[in-house]
């Protein structure tokens, strides 16, 4: 069809160029509203964070002074900051990994269900409709050390020794948080895996079975390589979400006991809004960005290369 057009139009090169330029301009105008919003709401404030990170801005006063690298020096020397970084890494990587494993397992379960498939897909998705905030609010009461449902159930089952101050034990709190964040059936992640699983050509699976491969081998050599694309997407998205886990920390522990369960996202919030140290908070925000960027790029690069190999 394109050749026909070229033949009939008979236009000069100049006209084609002009049209192409006009086309380019038109396409740019299409992009413009979103682009302006995006630059205004995302890029510009991010750059301003870098600027504020060199000041002693308190978040209220109109004035602030430049303090050079002092905020960064203080952050590097702050045990509280490193602790929040450690927590962020545990929660970010841990939740991305565990949620993906759970999601894939649930997707495999769903893939084997052929009757009432819609019903089972729905119940698997339902829990993810509840917001992290709401579910944490409920957990907070259920995990109370003295009268929470969890400890009462454990006691009734004769497992008193396991009863615990779940949200008050500084040594384990971060793992409790990780557990609660991963207490899910995956929602979107599961559905992405499921739709990917269902697009695996059945012929391949059957051919492998004919060759005498068992279920595990089929999964390892046929299904798993086909999933590479959704693994990359799911893991990257889960990781990006994991870096900024906030609601659970805010509701369940408020960063405590003491400072042990603060994450970077929570740390920035506390500094900027509770402790009137927005300049310092901005420096932490810049570091958070660097962490997110580096880890996302590395994982993505690694996963893409893995996709190609397979």
């Amino acid at each position: 069809m394109a050749t026909v057009r070229r033949g009939t139009s008979g236009a000069s090169h100049n006209a084609i160029h002009a049209q192409a330029r006009r086309n380019k301009l038109m396409m740019f105008l299409f992009t413009l509203p979103m682009l302006v919003l995006f630059l205004w709401i995302v890029i510009f404030p991010s750059l301003q964070s870098i600027q504020l990170s060199f000041t002693n801005y308190d978040g209220i006063s109109a004035k602030y002074d430049y303090v050079g690298l002092r905020n960064y020096q203080e952050i590097i020397g702050s045990g509280r900051f490193w602790n929040s970084t450690k927590n962020t890494l545990i929660l970010g990587i841990g939740s991305a990994f565990i949620i993906n494993v759970i999601s894939l397992a649930v997707a495999l379960l769903l893939d084997h269900i052929k009757h009432f498939a819609g019903f089972f897909r729905t119940i698997v998705y339902l829990p993810s409709l509840v917001s992290a905030f709401i579910v944490s609010t409920i957990w907070k009461y259920m995990l109370n050390s003295n009268f929470g449902a969890v400890n009462e159930i454990l006691t009734k089952m004769g497992l008193d020794s396991l009863a615990h101050d779940w949200l008050g034990d500084s040594k384990h709190i971060i793992w409790v948080l990780l557990f609660l964040i991963c207490f899910t059936l995956g929602g979107n992640t599961t559905l992405i895996y499921l739709s990917n699983l269902q697009s695996v050509p059945q012929e391949l699976v059957e051919a492998a079975e004919v060759d005498g491969a068992n279920g595990l081998q089929v999964f390892r050599h046929v299904t798993w390589p086909m999933l590479a694309g959704s693994v990359t997407v799911n893991f990257t998205l889960a990781l990006i979400g994991g870096w900024v886990i906030f609601d659970q920390v805010m509701v369940l522990t408020g960063g405590g006991p003491g400072f042990v369960s603060e994450t970077m996202a929570f740390f920035i919030y506390r500094l900027g809004f509770g402790e009137y140290r927005a300049g310092f908070g901005s420096a932490a925000a810049v570091i958070l960005f660097i962490v997110v960027m580096i880890t996302t790029l590395i994982t993505n690069k690694y996963m893409r290369s893995r996709e190609i190999q397979q």
Partner: protein, 448 residues
């Protein structure tokens, strides 16, 4: 087929925009309550922003605003709740950022805003109604904060206990520190848990610390505004806090119900009425007694203060700290012409009539000059203990003001968290004190 699809999409978008437009109208309607306008009382409308979180106080605000509007000729006051929760500072800051100040505002931590010029001075026609020690001027000589309730300082930070249990086991309210320890040993010997405290939120972790640290604060009370001012000016050291912090740690290790790290203040009522503990710390004073009564009307609650070694009951009296709340008038009210109405409301609030309304609603009214004419409300079980505390000869009012230069609240917030970390065995005392010193130096400069 694609065109049919497109039409459907168009219809869907039209429907969505219609809903959106509808919501828009509703939101505008809801959002436009800020302007002051004329009304039935012939005057203006002033907003009164109050901190929620304590139901007694909510009820008090509602009662006194209604009573004021009924008799007012100048205009109407509208009560507007402010998210308090555990994050009052954030809520306050958000409100400030919108530059949408109400006329009358229920403040904590007022120095930040007084310094920023956000508050208007309260005139002497209001302060003249109050007892002289019920308010204090800011460093520029103006008064910006007047008490929202009885100027009983931090007497609300005390211990509530199960009176029936005390009677049953022949236990007495302690009059010295040693008796307090002995009391807890006795309860422990019965196989019960003596004390519960809450530290899940930042602020209530003061409940167990302050009454004990007050004996240190008392030593610096006489001149210069108190301990924190002395620390800022190099006349006192944070090392002095070692002793009360160790005492608190000793209580935590030996007598306090486990799970205190994750217990919310609001949950101590449960612990007390279900017998998980015999005593519980509180920062709500009468509010806690009310809550207990609401939950279990036959529960016989009592209240006492932790005494120091000499038997003194040290209570911080200052109205201008960051735990004591107060009322302020905004600078913005001068611009929008509602300042006079705000003043008139405060005058009513501190009249005998207004005070009676406050008392009836369950809050103890502010210390006005005519306070002996006010009718006290002793209907809540245990409240007699509270009023007796006020008459106790051992009660010693001490002053301990928050430094106004710098951001003492940043330090205080850090201090509470650091204290919890120490009590929780995450850090030893010397490390904690060293960190506190560094933080204090950063946040609070020398004061004048």
């Amino acid at each position: 087929m694609t065109y049919g699809f497109a039409r459907n999409v168009k219809r869907a978008i039209a429907a969505v925009s219609a809903v959106a437009a509808l919501c828009g109208v509703a939101a505008c309607g809801a959002g436009s309550k800020t302007a002051s306008s004329g009304d039935a009382n012939g005057g203006k409308t002033a907003r009164f922003l109050y901190a929620t979180g304590d139901e007694t106080w909510n009820a008090t605000v509602k009662a006194v605003v209604d009573a004021y509007n009924k008799q007012s000729t100048m205009g109407t006051v509208v009560a507007e709740p402010l998210t308090a929760g555990s994050d009052y500072a954030t809520a306050m800051k958000t409100m400030d950022a919108t530059n949408n100040w109400p006329t009358i505002v229920d403040m904590r931590d007022y120095t930040t805003y007084a310094k920023a010029g956000k508050l208007a001075p309260i005139p002497s026609e209001v302060t003249d109604l109050l007892q002289d020690d019920a308010y204090a001027p800011y460093s520029d000589g103006n008064v910006y904060l007047v008490p929202s309730s009885a100027n009983n300082g931090e007497i609300g930070i005390n211990i509530v206990y199960n009176k029936d249990y005390f009677n049953e086991h022949d236990l007495e309210v302690p009059t010295t520190w040693d008796e307090f320890i002995k009391l807890m040993d006795d309860i422990k010997a019965n196989g019960d848990t003596p004390l519960a405290t809450a530290a899940a939120e930042n602020w209530p972790s003061d409940q167990i610390f302050k009454p004990i640290a007050n004996s240190v604060f008392a030593k610096h009370s006489a001149e210069h505004g108190g301990y924190w001012m002395d620390v800022a000016n190099g006349k006192a050291s944070l090392d002095e806090l070692k002793e009360p912090m160790e005492k608190v740690k000793m209580l935590i290790d030996n007598y306090v119900l486990s799970g205190w790290q994750s217990t919310q203040d609001a949950q101590t009522t449960t612990l007390l009425v279900t017998g998980k503990t015999v005593m519980a710390t509180t920062s709500a004073g009468l509010g806690r007694l009310k809550d207990i009564n609401k939950v279990k009307s036959d529960f016989n609650a009592g209240m006492f203060l932790i005494p120091d070694e000499e038997g003194n009951l040290n209570v911080v009296k200052n109205a201008v700290g960051d735990t004591s709340t107060g009322l302020a008038l905004s600078a913005q009210s001068k611009e929008n012409g509602t300042y006079d109405l705000g003043v008139d409301f405060l005058k009513y609030f501190y009249s005998v009539e207004g005070s009676n309304v406050v008392e009836q609603s369950g809050t103890i009214s502010a210390n006005i000059k005519d306070s002996d004419k006010v009718t006290r409300n002793e209907s809540i079980p245990g409240s007699e203990d509270y009023f007796n505390l006020l008459k106790n000869p051992k009660l010693k009012w001490i002053s301990n003001e928050s430094p106004t230069e710098g951001t003492f609240s940043s330090f205080n917030s850090f201090f509470r968290q650091a204290r919890v970390a120490y009590q929780d065995n995450q850090k030893d005392l010397d490390t904690t004190i060293a960190e506190l010193k560094a933080e204090f130096a950063k946040d609070v400069p020398a004061q004048n």
